[in-house]
């Protein structure tokens, strides 16, 4: 692996770890209001400064990371899992199942994912679970389509034909032959998807249809800092930079996997 990918891998791991172990890194309550210490710029005492209610921005960024990343990873894994299975089955079984599934995916693409997400959150309420479900639903189609395309091109290959001639059941062919060969594409898609999902959750939170205050989330914090751009730039900027760093790292890792200089081969 090139040093650059290692660097970004390390960065990502650092951010994820920092968020996961937030309580260890900061003994401050992210929601602790202290109206005497509002709008403090970044100091040694408050690394990221404080916001309009005197809450420590660094702590909130860490805890917000917990929430945003947890949502992101769950959604990516769920969307990836269901999408890939659907794509594989669709490619392998073909016929009406394939047509029906692709019709559903196409229908989903008729609406921008954000709209769909907003609709469902609006209707079912913005709980954490709902957000994960919504983002998953908005995303699985991507996996289904791409994995299906991969599997379709594999299906024509000789080794599949040989397996079928030897009497393998469809499930066996899918699990033992198709699955391992789409593994690489799948891994690349997963990593690249993380960024997209973080964007989506951040956008939802930004417009108020995602993680609800006072729970911290990167998107929500950026939204809250919006009104204080000139006076307290750190409120929006710092969580935003952490978000960018996270997305940047996962994108870079995804790309290096794509180029083949990653661990998988």
């Amino acid at each position: 692996m090139s040093t650059r990918s290692l660097l970004f891998g390390g960065l990502l791991v650092a951010i994820v770890a920092a968020s996961a172990f937030a309580p260890l890194l900061s003994n401050v309550d992210p929601n602790a209001i202290d109206l005497s210490a509002t709008f403090q710029s970044p100091t040694w005492h408050h690394w990221f400064g404080t916001d309009q209610m005197g809450r420590d921005v660094f702590t909130r960024t860490l805890y917000g990371g917990r929430i945003s990343l947890a949502i992101a990873f769950c959604a990516v894994l769920l969307a990836g899992f269901f999408g890939a299975i659907a794509g594989l089955l669709s490619a392998y079984l073909g016929g009406r199942f394939d047509a029906a599934l692709m019709r559903i995916v196409d229908a989903q693409y008729a609406l921008p994912p954000v709209f769909l997400a907003m609709l469902i959150v609006g209707i079912c309420g913005p709980s954490m679970t709902n957000i994960v479900i919504v983002v998953t639903l908005a995303n699985w189609g991507r996996f289904a389509r791409i994995i299906r395309a991969e599997a379709l091109s594999l299906r024509e290959r000789d080794f599949i034909l040989i397996a079928k001639l030897a009497g393998a059941t469809p499930l066996h062919v899918v699990m033992r032959h198709l699955l391992p060969n789409v593994r690489n594409t799948f891994a690349v898609l997963l990593t690249l998807d993380i960024g997209l999902v973080i964007f989506m959750e951040a956008a939802l939170s930004f417009v108020g249809l995602g993680v609800q205050p006072p729970d911290p989330s990167w998107g929500g914090m950026i939204a809250e800092g919006r009104n204080y751009l000139d006076t307290a730039w750190w409120l929006s900027a710092l969580p935003g930079l952490v978000l960018i760093a996270t997305v940047l790292s996962s994108n870079r890792i995804g790309e290096s996997l794509q180029r083949g200089d990653g661990v998988l081969r």
């Binding site: 019709r103 559903i104 196409d106 229908a107 693409y109 008729a110 609406l111 921008p112 994912p113 954000v114 709209f115 907003m118 609709l119 469902i120 959150v121 609006g122 209707i123 079912c124 960024g195 964007f199 951040a202 956008a203 930004f206 417009v207 108020g208 249809l209 998107g219 950026i222 800092g225 919006r226 751009l229 000139d230 730039w233 929006s236 900027a237 935003g240 978000l243 960018i244 760093a245 997305v247 940047l248 994108n251 870079r252």
Partner: protein, 306 residues
């Protein structure tokens, strides 16, 4: 080719129909509007009257039929909140967003294609590295965040441009830049990758062997062959940008489709939600259809196969 198009058109209509069913069902899942929208002191009789007025007391299939008939007629009821016809609200706000997204996508294509081609042709040069940086950052920074940065710089600090609202061309600049960067990044990337592949092809070598001038080799031969996936990508970016515009419209108080959705959902304005979804679906399905046609026009192999 006509047969191909007919099939795609049929498929598109089916999609629209499916989505109409979906939104119809979804909206009714929220709960009884008679409870949600009426004040708590209202009596049961009032609520029943409300239901009957909205046609909610009838059996569901009938409601759907009426809804569908309304859609075909162009009447989707009035907004609960504003009283104005939902469809016209959706359409006017859509036009506003389309302006924003259209200009952004055009700008993104112009920048993305130029950077991508330049980076591929001058591989390893400073323009290649700049393009990479541009692309990497553009895809890592959420457009709404970029928007805030731009506002901080250009509105707050230097006062050159307004912080929000609409009306003059000045109001367009910042939102367009914020949106365009994200798409331009993806387009530049894809263009560069495709061009690099195409430039290795034998027919490019042949074009050079023929002594054709560089702009013909790159423009007519290379770019045309690299174009198809880029076109498809740009079309898909349209949907992405409409989605991304949701946050951007909030930041700039731009009266667009995305912010309409947000408002409608926040206030549980069903008719507007329905109208917005139907309009949106029709739009995207048409775009996808147009892309399919474009594909067939550009690549003669598809045309003759089907």
């Amino acid at each position: 080719m006509p047969a191909y198009l007919l099939r795609r058109a049929g498929s598109a209509l089916l999609t629209v129909w499916l989505m109409s069913v979906l939104i119809f069902v979804l909206v009714r899942l929220v709960g009884d509007p008679a409870y949600l929208l009426m004040p708590p002191e209202a009596t049961e009789a009032d609520r029943q009257l409300f239901r009957e007025q909205l046609g909610l007391a009838d059996p569901v299939p009938l409601q759907y039929a009426r809804f569908l008939a309304g859609v075909l007629r162009g009447d989707m009821g009035n907004s609960f909140h504003f009283g104005a016809p939902a469809l016209s609200m959706a359409l006017s706000r859509l036009a506003s967003s389309l302006l924003l997204v259209g200009i952004s996508l055009t700008l993104a294509l112009a920048i993305g294609l130029s950077l991508g081609v330049a980076a591929a042709v001058r591989r390893g040069s400073w323009i290649d590295r700049f393009a990479s940086l541009f692309a990497v950052l553009g895809q890592a920074a959420p457009p709404f965040f970029v928007a805030l940065l731009l506002i901080r710089l250009f509105s707050v600090q230097w006062g050159w441009l307004p912080t929000g609202g609409h009306g003059t061309w000045r109001h367009l600049i910042l939102p367009v830049c914020a949106l365009a960067w994200y798409s331009a990044a993806g387009i530049a990337r894809l263009t560069r990758a495709n061009m690099l592949t195409v430039l290795e092809a034998d027919y490019i070598r042949m074009a050079r062997i023929k002594g054709l001038p560089a702009h013909v080799v790159i423009g007519t031969h290379a770019l045309r062959n690299a174009a198809l996936p880029i076109v498809a990508f740009a079309a898909s970016q349209f949907g992405v940008l409409i989605g991304g515009a949701v946050a951007i419209e909030t930041v700039f108080s731009w009266p667009g489709f995305g912010s309409l959705m947000v408002e409608a959902i926040s206030t549980l304005d069903f008719t507007v939600m329905q109208a917005a979804v139907i309009v949106s679906v029709l739009l995207f399905v048409s775009i996808n259809l147009a892309v399919d046609v474009l594909y067939a026009l550009v690549d003669p192999r598809i045309r003759y196969q089907r």
